[in-house]
Symmetry: C2
Subunit: 255 residues, 2 copies
Amino acid sequence: MTSAPTNASQPRARRSRPLRVADAIKDWVVEQGLQPGDRLPGEAELIARFGMSKGTIREAMRLLQAQGLVETKTGPGGGSFVGEVSRERANALLANYFYFRDVTIDDIYEVRVALEPELAARLAGTLTEAQLGELEAIMEEYAVPATDAEEERRQHVASLRFHARLSDFGQNTLLGYFIAFMAQILTDLTVYKRLYTTPNHDLWQRGRAHQIDLIAALRHGDSDRAREVMRSHMLMARRLMEDQEAEVMKRFIAE
Amino acid sequence: MTSAPTNASQPRARRSRPLRVADAIKDWVVEQGLQPGDRLPGEAELIARFGMSKGTIREAMRLLQAQGLVETKTGPGGGSFVGEVSRERANALLANYFYFRDVTIDDIYEVRVALEPELAARLAGTLTEAQLGELEAIMEEYAVPATDAEEERRQHVASLRFHARLSDFGQNTLLGYFIAFMAQILTDLTVYKRLYTTPNHDLWQRGRAHQIDLIAALRHGDSDRAREVMRSHMLMARRLMEDQEAEVMKRFIAE
DNA sequence: TAAGATTTGTTCGTATGTATC
DNA sequence: GGATACATACGAACAAATCTT
């Protein structure tokens, strides 16, 4: 997309050979317009082309592999192939960026409040019955109030999947990614940090009512109502989260 | 951050040794709660600890290096250190995700329209005079209408820097990152794809008027006005982009 | 300035593992 | 099962960078 300006800055300090080889291969892939699945030269040929040792070439391939740009297979017909960066990998890589920075749950909700209602408004009237059905199926996973903390977490993860799935249905890849990324972060927090341990029947009921209204608005193409319902839903969830207290992405210190 | 569930999925296909070593080191860093700048064991010690060859260890370090998680220096006192993923690297890594996916300029603007007005509203009344001065200094770079395409591009990059800088001033790291990422993508498009080649005095004047109004609203703590001005600004820019995109396309087809 | 110490960077030869035919 | 084609891994040696004295 942005055609990867590998050498954005110019005089840059001497880079190690693997780094330079990786850049060269990246540029070459862009130049050739290679597509995911296309084959890259094998180790032997790269060794010849760059005049470097096997170890150096292998380190270069690892650099590209870590970025999700290439995949390698052993055996006949094997080798390195252009890879499409998966959403999971992109999420993990981006999460690393925030690892040492302070991102609070409220920060996430502030963005969700701004983005998700717009998504809902855009989607109203555009979803197929199959897609609406899929969303309703997810809702079935929390049709009954949770009775313990474990089930509460499971249900919360499902409701986050509802939002991630919804974001997949839109045409805006960027918007969809941002929303899904936030849902992923909240899911990880729920699962690994054992968040959301206070089942609350009243909130559960109101949250579910929101989603039912949302589905109806989406089905009937009521854009404004979809926006408003989603907005209420986000604001309510946000207030609920306030109790969970800030600074979560910061410091985890295992138990 | 999400405490890096390195082995999120279970029985997963056999992973290569460098991959496993990299995971182990990552988990170890998390366990130890190491901070940026902290030293990692040297090659020699890792070779001993994992019982693997130098090449394997080095490939593992490359995997971590590509993710921005470690930095390496040669010489006495050198070695590998925990690194804080830079914004530039995070941007590049995330841009790779979108490389093979269709993200249109309009997609970007749809998200900007949703996010930037909220940022402006939040920032109203919180900026120091120094910060406001910095923004005004950037505006000076396009105080006079551009006379040619080259200057138009330069000015457009500067105005994108205005937005990126503004996003830095907020407290919300996540919101700030998303906004800055979009500004970066648009900047790359402007510079490398030679976009925005039709200076338009009328639009220039209106855009500049918006930013002047915005600064005033921010300075006087008028949150609602800041939101509205930013929203108008984004909507205008979005329309402008549609026209330019169309023109670029036409020109491209014509030749 | 120069020498020495320390640590990563790079090479080469060889051997092993793995998937396809 | 065997042959083939490819990546994976090891170990010893040497090169380069950089800090200290």
